[in-house]
Amino acid sequence: MTQPTIVEIRNLQKSYDQKLVLQGIDLQITAGQIIGYIGPNGAGKSTTVKILCGLITDFQGEVTIFGKDLRRQTVEIKQQVGYIPENAALYESLTPLEFMEFVGEMRGLGTDQTRRKAEALMGIFEMKPHLNQRIATFSKGMRQKVLICSALLHNPDLIFMDEPLSGLDANSVIMVKEMLIHLAREGKTIFYSSHLMDVVEKISDRIILIDQGRVIADGSFDELNKLSQDENLEKMFTRLTGNTDHSQKAEAFIHAFEK
């Protein structure tokens, strides 16, 4: 059975001070997929995610999510979307429970319902004892767990993740990977932007590689592998982004010390 299209992007462009960061992205994303969105630093990954989540509003091109126009029906789209930002700051004087209560209530959930969900989600990450402690006392990984739980509070149909594993310990990384696979099986769509090739390779149904604001490869790992004959995603990534001279660069780095 053909899955419905959840996200449709046509000629998406974005520039910062006349520098074109996204140079015309075209994508169609169907329900229940995990999309691995990869690219080198400055390729435009976070910008794409921020546009799709409604954080950046001045862009060119057409974006529809759940059949709704992103420019005109932003609020309706945000109601069905969860967003986990990369290295995002949180109000440090709040506790995770207070922060999640605010997020839940702004999303129309009741206080009791939000508390129950927050306790359940934080419990999965073994964070329940920290629910009423100020975020100021948390490590980077603990903060990331708060962000993940907050993004999933309202059971969104589409989840945007920008480097969600940043700062997490090994057990939490495995847990999040499993969680993503389960969410996709339940019909959720996951847009996963990351630098971690091995994670993207393992969990993604479809991999989109962007470089300098353009899509340069799009397909499942097997499809891309058939075309490129690269043994893993990392090799494919380095070849397609034109950075094959890593060993020469490493050698130059060592020489730089000697000078």
Binding site: V75, Y83, A88, A89, E98, E101, M106, A136
Partner: protein
């Protein structure tokens, strides 16, 4: 500008090295600090990007204006000693007051530690660079405050006298720096970790209020009829006041008087500040830095506090009165918690509470004061409306904080207009901080003037609430605690405060006029204010605060 400032340290290379610092590293660190300062405003406010550096000019204009107001007061003083004594006192008092809140970002600033700490730099170099940075900051402030006084001095006492005054301003700054270090070190001995941070905050507030009280009450004590001939008597204790050292030196060189008292002042002025700065650099600052690092680590080592999830009866009562819509309720709850915890918010707002209390008490300090006279008049109108200044502080204090990167959450949530959130914020701050204070003053007023003034208490409350809303909605629409203090200071804010003073006087006089017209005539103001509040909260705020406006100020990255 930075290059010019750095070049001023070249003649002091020997001194810097004598203090145990590496001169080249010292200059590099200072350059880094000044560069970070220069870019601080634009980092947090996209609107300011095109006007980098303009904020410093605006701040300077504000300080020059304060100095000018004072200059008008002392212009008539004939005695150079008294004139310069007053000028130096102003510089010291204003520096103390202004740096109180800035010290957290200047003296306690550790933002560049991540860059500096891993590098092989001696502690003395870092300490000295930190002091030099604060010295530059204070010197600029002191010079701005004194520029009008200096012009007056040039005309009144001659160019040479004015030049000596400039020299003594720098000596004054050196002494103030020493004094601040001593004070903060004393405080740091009392506590550590989170307790110390709170203690420092309350200490800073107390100092600001103390200086304001000393200034107001001091002014009140002076008999203005003899201001032109005012001469400060020199007693044994005069030699203990730093402004006396500097004014004594300036007078001695202006009038060429070298009698024993003047020689003592000259010796004090030339010996005390250099010795003080030597002690500061060599002994105090290294201890200060060590304490500062302990303070930074305090969060990790002190016991982690668990917050209560219980909602107080006062909170529930206020929420029931003030908010009804879901987004407003969520914002109200969030802000209620945060305003009780954010140190910078309390540090900015609480001094204004102290100032208001002083402004109520100071005019009544007189030998002729009598309670019966007070109760028979209508001075309570002044007492009630003076609280308007707290509401002015409230709206701007809600913006100041270090959470610029945390505002993404508001944009990520499904809200068609940010207005509801902003409404919840100001209402929470008003209900949590203003209403309890106002209730206390209302009880005091009703005790002195009788229950008959209760309608007037209500009218003033409605009026102040209306003004609080207007001030908050008409300032930069920044999310709570996301802007640096420098980003909201200066031109428009100053204009707004002066506008508010004028408006306060107008509405207070209108109220007073209605009181004298016929009994309870002022009651007509109640529906008027309620109508205005309704219009502002239901219609105007949605027109004024849109995502388009909010996106201009906030950074969601």
């Amino acid at each position: 500008m930075i290059r010019f400032i750095l070049s001023l340290f070249i003649p002091f290379k020997w001194f810097i090295e004598k203090m145990g610092a590496d001169y080249q590293q010292f200059i590099r660190i200072l350059n880094l600090k000044l560069t970070l300062d220069d870019r601080r405003v634009s980092k947090f406010s996209r609107r300011k990007e095109n006007g980098q550096g303009k904020m410093m000019v605006r701040q300077s204009i504000f300080q020059i204006f304060i100095g000018a107001l004072f200059g008008m007061f002392i212009i008539l003083i004939k005695s150079p000693f008294t004139f310069y004594y007053m000028a130096h006192t102003l510089v010291m008092v204003m520096m103390a007051m202004m740096i109180i809140s800035e010290f957290t970002t200047i003296l306690f600033d550790t933002s560049e530690n991540a860059i500096i700490q891993p590098l092989p730099i001696k502690g003395n170099t870092v300490s000295l660079a930190r002091n030099a940075h604060v010295f530059i900051y204070l010197s600029l402030m002191a010079f701005n405050l004194s520029v009008i006084t200096l012009i007056i001095a040039f005309f009144r006492f001659g160019i040479f006298s004015g030049l000596i005054f400039i020299f003594t301003i720098f000596l004054n700054v050196l002494f103030t720096l020493f004094f601040a270090n001593i004070l903060y070190l004393c405080i740091m001995r009392l506590a550590s970790g989170e307790r110390l941070k709170n203690l420092l905050m309350y200490f800073q507030i107390a100092i600001a209020v103390f200086f304001m009280a000393a200034y107001q009450i001091g002014l009140k004590m002076i008999d203005r009829s003899v201001i032109t001939d005012m001469v400060l008597p020199v007693n044994w204790y005069t030699y203990l006041f730093p402004p006396a050292f500097f004014s004594g030196l300036t007078e001695a060189l202006t009038l060429f008087i070298f009698d024993p008292p003047h020689l003592k002042f000259i010796a004090e002025a030339l010996i005390v500040p250099p010795v003080a700065i030597y002690i500061t650099g060599k002994y105090l600052t290294p201890v200060f830095n060590r304490k500062l690092m302990e303070l930074e680590q305090g969060d990790r080592v002190s016991k982690i506090k668990t917050e209560s999830v219980r909602e107080s009866l006062w909170y529930r009562l206020m929420a029931a009165i003030f908010v009804s819509k879901q987004d407003e309720k969520a914002a109200f709850k969030l802000m209620w918690k945060m305003t009780g915890r954010e140190r910078q918010f309390k540090q900015t707002l609480l001094p204004s509470v102290g100032y208001v209390i002083i402004m109520i008490i100071a005019p009544n300090i007189s030998h002729k004061f009598s309670l019966s006279d007070l109760a028979s008049g209508d001075k309570y109108i002044f007492v009630l409306y003076i609280f308007m200044f707290i509401s002015a502080g409230l709206s701007s204090s809600l913006l100041i904080g270090n959470n610029s990167s945390a505002s993404w959450i508001f944009k990520a949530l499904p809200s068609s207009s940010p207005a509801g959130f902003f409404k919840g914020c100001i209402k929470a701050a008003f209900a949590r901080f203003f209403i309890p204070l106002y209730l206390i003053i209302a009880m005091v007023v009703c005790t002195f003037w009788g229950i008959r003034v209760l309608p007037d208490v209500l009218i003033a409350l409605l009026c102040i609430y209306l003004f609080s809303l207007l001030l908050y909605y008409f300032q930069q629409p920044g999310f709570p605690f996301t802007l640096e203090k420098t980003a909201i200071q200066g031109g428009s804010n100053t204009t707004k405060i002066f506008g508010l003073i004028i408006l306060t006087v107008i509405v207070a006089f209108l109220h007073k006029f209605l009181l004298h017209w016929f009994d309870f005539a002022s009651i007509i103001l109640i529906p008027l204010y309620i109508g205005a509040i309704y219009y502002v909260n239901r219609i105007m705020v949605y027109r004024k605060i849109s995502w388009q406006e909010v996106d201009q100020v906030n950074n969601y990255s």
